[in-house]
């Protein structure tokens, strides 16, 4: 994770285009200025960043299902639950699955786990549009390479 740049996903572990699921890994940094404020003497990962990590995980699933032709944007967060603290240095496994694919929007369910135990979950709604400009598409290509996005999953 690079919290300052909102790069919350480190690596795609599994992408299943048939089941429409994804699993990723994210290493919470042991030290970060965020933990100095949240909270002094009792550092925990802010819930909003756990939600963002689930959104980014879901986003990569949608990018894949949309054949890397459209960009999803988080539109709504529902039933988000912080079930347990996430602390500095923990390794997160984040899973997302497609609940519904509508016209121009999609809904996912996502979970954050640490050592197999659920720490957070949410139902997320995304709107998606064709990539609005080459810069964003190029950025997403670079991130895809960094996190090991399986290009072979895409349709030619």
């Amino acid at each position: 994770m690079d919290l300052q740049y909102f790069r919350l996903i480190d690596r795609i572990l599994d992408l299943n285009m048939v089941e429409k699921t994804i699993t990723v890994e994210a290493q919470v940094p042991a030290q970060n200025t965020i933990f100095e404020g949240h909270f002094p003497g009792y550092p925990i990962m802010p819930g909003v960043l756990l939600i963002e990590s689930m959104a980014q995980t879901s986003g990569w699933l949608l990018v894949a299902l949309l054949n890397f032709e459209r960009m999803p944007f988080l539109a709504a967060v529902k039933e988000a639950k912080m079930r347990g603290f996430v602390t500095p240095g923990e390794l997160l496994t984040i899973e997302a699955s497609l609940v519904h694919e509508g016209s121009g929007y999609a809904i996912t369910e996502a979970k954050v786990k640490v050592a197999g135990k659920l720490r957070s979950n949410a139902t997320l709604t995304f709107s998606h549009i064709p990539f609005p400009n080459p810069d964003l598409r190029g950025h997403m290509d670079a991130v895809a390479k960094r996190i090991g996005f399986p290009q072979q999953a895409l349709q030619p």
Binding site: A75, A76, H100, G102, S103, G104, Y105, I107, S127
Partner: protein, 95 residues
Amino acid sequence: MSSTFDQVATIIAETCDIPRDTITPDSHAIDDLGIDSLDFLDIAFAIDKAFGIKLPLEKWTQEVNDGKATTEQYFVLKNLCARIDELVAAKGAGA
């Protein structure tokens, strides 16, 4: 038609917390009921699930933006229900 309207009105009432008795076939989802695009995604999701269809929201929005259709054609509830009935019929014919 009435069955479709009843289902859609119930979905809108429950999704957007709008009193059911204020929702009529002539209600415009946007202009009369004040439903915005984000809330309409929730309604579309519920309609997609309830009727087993995929409302072509992107196509409709594009047609409105291009001046090829009016919002009334798709977002006045009696017209929306007619579109839903068409999609359900098309799905049945294709099955």
